[in-house]
């Protein structure tokens, strides 16, 4: 990876990490959801700094172009995090349902 690209990749990763920490600090993102994104930031940073890691990983799983390894894991991550959100939305839906029921019972008319 050319030096210029490396600098951009590292800056992007640091920017992402900074943004995540900042939204947690402002209480706009809860800690239990932040860890997934911190992990993403850390992995992006690690891969930008340690180029051979991506090459070794690509060889290990049989992907010829390292860029495809990034896309593959990126896509997998997106699928898993969306599934995670669907589970959370289901939980919230159940909680909203129960709260609405309790409110109806409390406002007995």
């Amino acid at each position: 990876m050319p030096f210029k690209q490396k600098i951009i990749a590292v800056l992007m990763a640091l920017g992402l990490l900074f943004f995540i920490i900042e939204v947690v600090r402002r209480r706009k993102l809860r800690e239990e959801y932040a860890w997934l994104w911190i992990m993403v930031g850390a992995i992006v940073l690690l891969l930008s700094l340690w180029e051979n890691l991506l090459n070794a990983l690509s060889r290990l799983i049989g992907i010829q172009l390292p860029a495809n390894t990034v896309f593959y894991f990126g896509l997998m991550f997106m699928i898993f995090i969306n599934l995670h959100f669907s589970v959370k939305i289901s939980l919230l839906t159940n909680q909203v349902k129960r709260l609405t029921q309790e409110l109806a019972l409390a406002k007995k008319k």
Partner: protein, 250 residues
């Protein structure tokens, strides 16, 4: 039903409604006339047509959801009320006049004698006083077969909304799973795996006075939801033992 029966005092008639302002006065009037000893509760599931207000004007106790949750959630709100107020039996019927209040004693008969924990009023054992579209008939038959296969007893009308429950079933459906939408075959399967005694009794069903819930794309969602939900309920393969139900009732 003997009107002086002390069990009537411990029985609640539950009507979950969503936009049933037209049919509600007639239905409540009929219940009052035919079953004067039974308490009536209406759960207004976020109606936009003033159903809740109409029910209050009719003198019913009304619980109103702030917004529409689903027919299952509306029933469950009624179950929670019944449990907390110490009722032992609940009969719920749809607010669209499909079910006849005159047949409430048939369901209560099974509950009061302890023959069943969950009683389902079946139009296929009794009479269906309207023409069911063929597609619907086939769908109902498929769910009836699935339900009968899993529970190993003949369930003819798993989509019926005319049902009776005792306290044991109320506990199972408030502490455990009760679907927010379309509580049909999956409820019966879930009840079976929780060791509840299920019975069907013949009833007569008339045509609904409201718009059909199962229409357009909803019917596709309904089939998908019911298949998945019934399958998942069957996976919770706890053997239907009396002990399990007793533990729950304690």
């Amino acid at each position: 039903m003997n009107s002086a029966d002390p069990r009537a005092k411990r029985t609640l008639v539950l009507i979950p409604v969503f936009n049933e302002s037209r049919s509600l006065p007639g239905l409540v009037g009929a219940i009052r006339a035919l079953q004067p000893d039974l308490d009536v509760v209406v759960v207004d599931d976020g109606s936009g047509d003033g159903s809740g207000r109409i029910a209050r004007d009719l003198g019913c106790l009304v619980f109103s959801h702030a917004f529409n949750l689903g027919d299952g959630a509306a029933r469950q709100t009624g179950f929670l009320y019944a449990l907390r107020e110490g009722y032992d039996y609940v009969v719920h019927l749809d607010g669209d006049c499909q079910h006849s209040p005159a047949e409430i004693p048939r369901l209560l008969g099974e509950l009061w004698t302890g023959e069943a924990d969950l009683v389902v009023g079946s139009r296929f054992l009794g009479a269906c006083a309207y023409r069911l579209p063929l597609a619907k008939k086939i769908g109902m038959r498929i769910f009836s077969l699935i339900c009968s296969g899993v529970t190993r007893r003949k369930i003819t009308d798993p989509t019926s909304g005319f049902r009776g429950l005792n306290r044991r079933a109320l506990l199972a459906f408030t502490e455990g799973y009760y679907p927010q939408h379309f509580p049909d075959a999956d409820v019966i399967i879930s009840a079976y795996f929780q060791g509840l005694k299920i019975r069907e009794v013949p009833v007569t069903m008339s045509a609904s006075q409201s718009r059909d819930l199962h229409r357009g794309m909803t019917i596709i969602y309904y089939i998908y939801k019911m298949l998945l939900s019934s399958f998942v309920c069957s996976l919770r393969m706890r053997y239907p033992t009396a002990e399990a139900a007793n533990d729950r009732a304690l």
